[in-house]
Structure formats: structure tokens, C-alpha cells
């Protein structure tokens, strides 16, 4: 019966094939005020569960901090959301309609999910300016790239972001020649020019001076609202300075969620972080 039902489906005159449906402009349904739904996510590497039935909901426009010890699953979670790792089970939806688990990295990026990596990864053999040019939010098809000419709108956008991250005087420099902190800034700038709806920021202040850290904190808080920001960070002082809501991960699942004070007084968190010494 199975093949026949497929056949019937095939010759049905009402049927519209997927490839005939014109590609809609990206429409992210956040009518329930939730931008990212992660439910029952499990990822196991050779039996080790990096994520274990993890549930996480990120509201539209919020700034959320993810904390947790090494191996708690923070980076794996980001890998799943951005399409780098496929989970063993669970679902991840962007808005109510976009199933992230069926999409490639590039499709997810074009939906508006931007990622800053833990280790700064910029294109070292390209100039700072070219790094931003590549990251610009625009059509990324092959022919568009071949015939692309920088227009004034894009130029202004890049100039504005370069100003924001204090890299204007380095625009012609190779990105590989930047200092560690500057590379972090460049990567943040690349995120910004891609105008993502959701920013996933992995350890943004590692290797930054206290002044730069403060600057980053200001930047991230100013982004929340218009964008949705998820920050993974170890630096508790930094988390305290930016976060309204914090999620604690432990052994691949959510241990606690709430504001910073609640978290610090949560007995489970205390137990995990301080051990069972008392």
C-alpha cells in the first residue's frame, strides 16, 4: 500500500511540490514571545552524554547567561543550535516554525542566528574590512558574490560598526596581525554586521582587559531588546554585571534557572559548585 499512497500523492492535482513554493522572506513566528525552543535534547559521544534531555526556552529580546562547569554542555548546545552537531534526540525550533535540526550551518546563519566562538576565529589572511564584508547580511549566492560591488549603504554599515568596536584605524590590517582582544572585537563586529536575530556569544571577554570587558558588557546589554543574546561565560563578575536571567547547566541538563541572587542561594547549585564537603 505504501508505494501506492505515495503515487496517489504524486498525481494528486492539488499537490504543490516543495520546490515550486517560492521562498518566503524569513518569517520568524514569535507570537508566544519565545524565540528559541530547545526540548528534550540529548547528544551522546560514544556513550558520554554531553547533553541529557535538555530543555531551554529563550524569550524574544532577552539577554540570557549560560553558566556551568567545563563539560556541562554549553558549547555542545551552541553546536546543536548552529547546526554543527546533530543531536540523538530532541527538538530545536527557531520561532515556532523553523526546525533547526533539518537545516545546514549556512541556512541557520541566514535565518539570523549568529555565533561568536570561544576561540576567536576570524579570517586571518583577510583584512579587517574584508572580514566584515564577508559577514554582511545579504544574499550569499554565488552569482551575487561574483558581481557584488560595495554600495554606500554597506560601506556606512561597516564604518559604523568599526567605530563601535574601535577598529577603524586597523581596517586595512590583516586580521591575523590583531591582538587577541582585538580579534575578539572583530568577531563581535562580524556578528553585528550580519544583523542576527539571535546572538550566541561564547566567552566574549576571555583575554580582554578590564576596560575592554566593561565595554563588552555595555555593548551586550545595549544589544538586548532589539536582538536576543545568549552569553556563555565563566567570569562570574561579568555575568553579574550583565545578566537578568541565568541558566545553570550541569552534566548536560538544566540545573537551575533564575536571577543571579536566586541562583547563588540555590542549594543544588551550591552543592554542585562547592561539592559535598559540608
Amino acid at each position: 500500500m505504501q508505494p501506492f499512497s505515495h503515487l496517489r500523492n504524486f498525481i494528486n492535482k492539488d499537490r504543490v511540490f516543495d520546490f515550486l513554493v517560492p521562498e518566503k522572506s524569513i518569517n520568524i513566528d514569535t507570537s508566544h514571545n519565545v524565540l528559541l525552543y530547545v526540548e528534550g535534547l540529548t547528544v551522546s559521544f560514544d556513550g558520554f552524554k554531553a547533553l541529557n534531555d535538555l530543555n531551554l526556552y529563550i524569550n524574544d529580546g532577552e539577554l540570557r547567561c549560560l553558566i556551568g562547569a567545563n563539560g556541562a554542555g554549553k558549547t555542545t548546545l551552541m553546536d546543536v543550535i548552529t547546526g554543527k552537531t546533530r543531536p540523538n534526540s530532541g527538538t530545536a525550533y527557531f520561532g515556532q516554525t523553523h526546525n533547526l535540526l533539518t537545516k545546514t550551518e549556512a541556512e541557520i546563519a541566514n535565518l539570523g542566528i549568529g555565533r561568536k566562538f570561544q576561540k576567536p576565529t576570524v579570517f586571518e589572511n583577510h583584512t579587517v574590512f574584508e572580514n566584515l564584508e564577508l559577514a554582511l547580511r545579504m544574499n550569499k549566492a554565488i552569482l551575487t558574490s561574483i558581481f557584488y560591488r560595495m554600495n554606500s549603504e554597506h560601506l556606512d554599515r561597516i564604518a559604523e560598526i568599526l567605530d563601535l568596536v574601535n577598529l577603524k584605524q586597523h581596517a586595512r590590517q590583516m586580521a591575523g596581525a590583531l591582538s587577541h582582544g582585538q580579534k575578539q572585537w572583530l568577531e563581535i563586529a562580524m556578528l553585528l554586521v550580519s544583523e542576527p536575530r539571535l546572538l550566541l556569544v561564547d566567552e566574549p571577554v576571555a583575554g580582554m582587559t578590564p576596560q575592554e570587558t566593561e565595554h563588552t558588557a555595555e555593548l551586550l546589554t545595549s544589544l538586548a531588546g532589539e536582538h536576543t543574546v545568549v552569553v556563555v561565560e565563566h567570569d562570574m563578575a561579568f555575568v553579574r554585571s550583565i545578566a537578568k536571567k541565568v541558566t545553570v547547566l550541569h552534566q548536560g541538563s538544566v540545573l537551575a534557572e533564575g536571577n543571579m541572587d536566586d541562583i547563588q542561594n540555590n542549594p543544588n547549585v551550591i552543592e554542585v559548585y562547592l561539592g559535598e564537603s559540608h
Partner: protein, 379 residues
């Protein structure tokens, strides 16, 4: 104020990195190409044999052969130097383009073959075949044959690279399967039953579009056409690779996963570039065959494809005219070296590759450009 910022950005965008060098070197290269081919043609036609300025036909053909090798080297440089994909199988696309051209030339022989059969090429008569196989149909029509020169290698490159890149095969694994591809094709073409002349290949060509292949003027025309193809494809490739597309390709070379997270479908970019590169190799093959007068399965030999990589490494990868320079120099050396000490050539080639890799990682062009830079640094 805004205008000042804009213009400074625009100018910086044009002069990044090797932008200056490649445009200057490229102009020199194009000028040399025109001057040398014209001088050679004039020298052959206007000065009588025996004059000091006479260029003999052998040299003309040799030059044409070198230039088609240069085109092949450029194809490898585009995929290896710019995108970091080391293809050790470009000889396959070169040979397929050559075979398509060879099939056209075979059909032009008509009844002038040894057996005098007007319908069948000699080797088919020899094999007692009674009629022309279906895949030989249409090859007596020049435009169809030229279409096949592009279509067959293009489709093969598309299917091959799409399968490889979609499965994210990269690095040395990709290089190995390209070797396997060209080796498999070589074994197939060696078989008589394939219908491509077995290990003798296709040869004994008489004329192309009605012009006698042995005459001086035809040979000069072939040289000029080869030079023109090299020039036009150089300009086209320079345009493509200096566009944003080229910067995406270089970013893929340096950090492919990062490019994916920026939103580019890197597989599509790589497939596109691979097919483009294979088409250039096929054109080079089609230009090569009428000038040397033979195409046989030996052209598929894995060693040939590796040799092309050596040319590119010697000239300097990542710059198009570097590949051209490398192909010309190594082939010139090969012609003379094999004349003096044939059995030592392969050792010399190996030593050259090792030497260049250790001492000149950016090839001869890299050496020139670093000298230029140090001269500019001095006031």
C-alpha cells in the same frame, strides 16, 4: 565627512594585499604573451629559413604546447592556490577535453586512413567493428565536438565534486580520490572495447575545419588561438577571483567551517570553482591535441597530474601568472633536460619539487614579490 570615509574605504579595498602586485604582474604577463606569440608568428612567416630571425615551425608548435600546459597549470592553481583543494586528477579533465577534440579530428580523416574506410576510423576497422558506436555520432560536426569538450569533463567534474564536497571530503582524502579518478579513467581508456582506440589512442590527424594540420599557417593560428584563450581565461579568472566570490573562496581555504557559520553554502562554492577549473583544463586539452597530433590514455596517468602540481608550486601558487610561469619554465627545462639526460629528468623534477617546497614556499613569484617589497621598504 561621510564622503571622505567612503572614499578612503573604497581605495583601501582596491589595494589590499597582492592587489597591486597581481595587477602589475598580470599586465606584464599579458604584454609578454602578446609580444612573444606575435614575434614568433612574424619570425616564422616573414623571415626565410636560415635567417637569424627565423623561428622554425617546431618552435611554434612547442610554444603552443607550452601555452596549453600553462592553461592547465592555471586551472590547478585556481582550485589549489586559491581554495586549498589539492586536485591530483586534473589530468583527467585535460585528457577528456583532448579526447573530444581528437574524436572530431578522427572524423575529419574520412577515407584518407590506412584502410580507406570512409565511415569508420582505422582502429575500428582493425577491430572488425561494422558500424560507428553511438557515442561517436555527431563528432564530425565541429560545434558539437566543441560542446562535448566542455560538457563531458564539466558533468564529470560536477558529479564528482558534488559527491565529494557534499560528504565533506577534504584534504589528503580528496587528493587521493582524484588520483583514483584519473587512474580509473586511464585503465578504462586503455581497453580496446571502450572504442577510443585503446592504448594507441587517437592519432594520424589530417586537418581541422578544412585546414591542413601540418601547414605552418595552421600551426601559427593554433598558437595564436591558444595564446588568446590563455589571455581571455586569465582575465576572466582574475575578475572572478578578485570579486567577493574570490574572497569567499580564500576564506574557505583558511577556515571553511567559519565560512559556513557566516552563512555561505561552502559546498556550492567549491563545486562551482571545481567545475570552472575542470572546464579550463578541458579547454587546455582540446588546444593541446591538434598541436601535438596525438591523444592516448597515457595522458590520464596519475603522474601527469602530479607534474602539473609541481609546475604550480614552482611558479608560485595563489597567483595566476605564477602558475603560467611555472608551467613554462618547468616544461622548457624538461624539453632540454630530456634531450641531454633523459633518465635523470624524473629525479631532477622530484628534487625541484622538494627544493621549492622547502626554500620557496611561495614559488618564484613569491621570491620576486618579497624582493620587490624589501626594495619598497627602503626609502
Amino acid at each position: 565627512m561621510a564622503n571622505a570615509i567612503n572614499s578612503s574605504f573604497l581605495s583601501m579595498n582596491n589595494t589590499t594585499r597582492e592587489g597591486m602586485l597581481s595587477s602589475r604582474g598580470g599586465n606584464v604577463f599579458l604584454a609578454l604573451l602578446v609580444v612573444v606569440t606575435l614575434l614568433a608568428s612574424v619570425g616564422n612567416q616573414l623571415f626565410p629559413a636560415g635567417s637569424a630571425l627565423h623561428v622554425d615551425t617546431y618552435t611554434i608548435t612547442l610554444l603552443g604546447k607550452y601555452l596549453s600546459f600553462a592553461l592547465l597549470a592555471m586551472a590547478v592553481d585556481i582550485i589549489w592556490g586559491y581554495c586549498g583543494i589539492l586536485s591530483l586528477g586534473h589530468g583527467a579533465f585535460f585528457a577528456l577535453g583532448g579526447y573530444a577534440m581528437g574524436m572530431y579530428l578522427m572524423r575529419q580523416i574520412g577515407d584518407r586512413g590506412v584502410y580507406g574506410n570512409p565511415d569508420l576510423p582505422d582502429f575500428m576497422v582493425f577491430l572488425n567493428w561494422s558500424e560507428l558506436p553511438w557515442f561517436w555520432q555527431g563528432f564530425d560536426f565541429f560545434p558539437f565536438a566543441m560542446l562535448m569538450v566542455l560538457l563531458i569533463p564539466g558533468i564529470l567534474a560536477f558529479i564528482f565534486s558534488w559527491l565529494a564536497f557534499r560528504s565533506r571530503v577534504t584534504g589528503v582524502y580528496f587528493s587521493i580520490i582524484t588520483q583514483a579518478l584519473t587512474y580509473a579513467l586511464m585503465l578504462a581508456f586503455f581497453r580496446n572495447e571502450m572504442g577510443f582506440g585503446g592504448n594507441n589512442g587517437l592519432t594520424d590527424f589530417k586537418d581541422i575545419l578544412g585546414f591542413d594540420l601540418q601547414s605552418d599557417t595552421t600551426r601559427i593560428c593554433l598558437l595564436l588561438i591558444t595564446a588568446a584563450c590563455l589571455g581571455v581565461i586569465y582575465l576572466l579568472s582574475q575578475f572572478i577571483l578578485s570579486s567577493k566570490f574570490g574572497r569567499v573562496i580564500e576564506a574557505i581555504r583558511d577556515s571553511e567551517s567559519r565560512v559556513r557559520f557566516v552563512g555561505f553554502k561552502t559546498e556550492n562554492y567549491k563545486v562551482w570553482l571545481f567545475v570552472y577549473s575542470a572546464l579550463i583544463a578541458a579547454i587546455a586539452g582540446a588546444l593541446y591535441v591538434p598541436q601535438v597530433g596525438i591523444i592516448n590514455p597515457g595522458e590520464f596517468a596519475p603522474l601527469n597530474s602530479i607534474e602539473v602540481v609541481v609546475w604550480v608550486a614552482v611558479g608560485g601558487r595563489g597567483l595566476l601568472y605564477g602558475a603560467v610561469l611555472g608551467a613554462l619554465l618547468v616544461n622548457f627545462a624538461k624539453t632540454h633536460f630530456t634531450g641531454i639526460l633523459p633518465e635523470a629528468w624524473l629525479f631532477a623534477l622530484g628534487a625541484l619539487f622538494v627544493g621549492v617546497t622547502i626554500f620557496l614556499p611561495r614559488g618564484i613569484v613569491g621570491l620576486l614579490s618579497s624582493r620587490n617589497k624589501s626594495m619598497e621598504d627602503k626609502p
